[in-house]
Assembly symmetry: C2
Homo-oligomer: 234 residues x 2
């Protein structure tokens, strides 16, 4: 067994190098030899310490998840989805882990599923609490609203490079993330639409005889069509 003080050793160096490499290049595109070189060890030592490449991945997953979970529980009281962005906004600490997290959520590993579920649950709890405190407006589908908040919080993580590119290219770091805070809160406070024309239209469209539900046949238009629907039968 390995004691907690066993860190700072070759095993820890391998883990850190693997996290960096997986975050930068992805799991498949990273070879054990590349990780070994970055950690200053041989490829065989990785296998000796972790078993095989998948076990190394699992160890990295657990480590990153633990880092986020532990440092997040102290931030649970922060306002809703900004919990995530609050954890994001000192990138110099979480930097490598954020890219790793994006990779994790991209190709869903078991650990990524656990982390995602945890994020959803924490978001749900925070929203419920705020709802009880009377801070929230009523929504027709609270669970889906929870997921929307999760998406809004996780999207910057998964689209970091694209967003950085769209914002001008070079500033894909803390400044870009900070720039997101105020518009996000504006959206959460006022929405973007001045009146409820779109919403009413969609409500009407979905409430009409249109089945909307599931099913293979039918193929109703549904969706949030504008004022006038488009009877696309496909």
């Amino acid at each position: 067994m390995r004691s907690a003080s066993d860190d700072l050793t070759a095993r820890a160096r391998i883990r850190d190098a693997a996290i960096r490499a997986f975050a930068r290049d992805g799991f498949d595109a990273t070879s054990l030899r590349a990780i070994a070189a970055a950690a200053g060890v041989s490829a065989a030592l990785i296998v000796h310490h972790f078993g095989d490449k998948n076990a190394l991945r699992a160890a990295c997953d657990d480590y990153v998840v633990a880092a986020f979970i532990d440092d997040k529980h102290e931030l649970i009281e922060a306002p809703t989805t900004d919990r995530i962005r609050t954890a994001l906004h000192d990138l110099e600490r979480y930097g490598p882990y954020i890219d790793y997290l994006g990779r994790m959520l991209g190709d869903s590993s078991p650990a990524a599923d656990r982390l995602f579920d945890e994020i959803v649950q924490v978001t749900r709890e925070v929203l419920d609490e705020q709802r009880r405190a009377g801070l929230l407006v009523e929504t027709s589908d609270p669970e889906m609203t929870t997921l929307l908040m999760v998406m809004l919080g996780l999207a910057p993580v998964m689209m970091r490079t694209q967003i950085g590119r769209a914002l001008g290219g070079d500033q894909l770091s803390r400044a870009g993330m900070l720039r997101m805070t105020l518009p996000t809160l504006e959206l959460l406070t006022h929405g973007i639409y001045r009146d409820s024309a779109f919403l009413d239209g969609a409500r009407e469209a979905m409430a009409s005889g249109e089945p909307v539900s599931d099913g293979t046949a039918s193929g109703g238009t549904a969706s949030g069509g504008t004022a006038s629907d488009e009877g696309e039968t496909s």
Copy 2:
């Protein structure tokens, strides 16, 4: 040169099989031999028709992007980010392409960058138009608001499996996407917060001398600032 009527041939079968395989397993994890088997041809024929594996990927990228762009331009007039979801809502047609799109945006290929920029631009144009029509509330950072709308539209694509799992596991298809329409419009119309306490707090925090907790040395807060300018020289 290859005429457009050259489709439906082995070349088209290879492309379709590659799109399916790339969407299901990712680019790196898909071998040419697997694509060849799925298309009923030999691996060498793929090289004969496309050059190499990266060229095949580029051809698939272009094909998928064209499918989305062409079918999307007829939907530009749809409300903001629901443009994307409107295109999503008949998954039985776009199904494979959506997963492929998610993979594309995950590992940013040149074609993915082009597509993302196109989506941002279309979203910006629609928002500008709606702003001119007086449908939108003012925001402190319109460009970032545009990106938020893009994120809200693209997040379901990139987190499809996770969201499907969180919604109960089996329903990761059209019904799940449809369920998202109304809560999304509610968010865009009313936000989720009843008052502007969080927003005011954040505005105050960012406007004050508080560097919003940066890391090492001072380093101007920069960020997107509030209504006032932010002469960011980059």
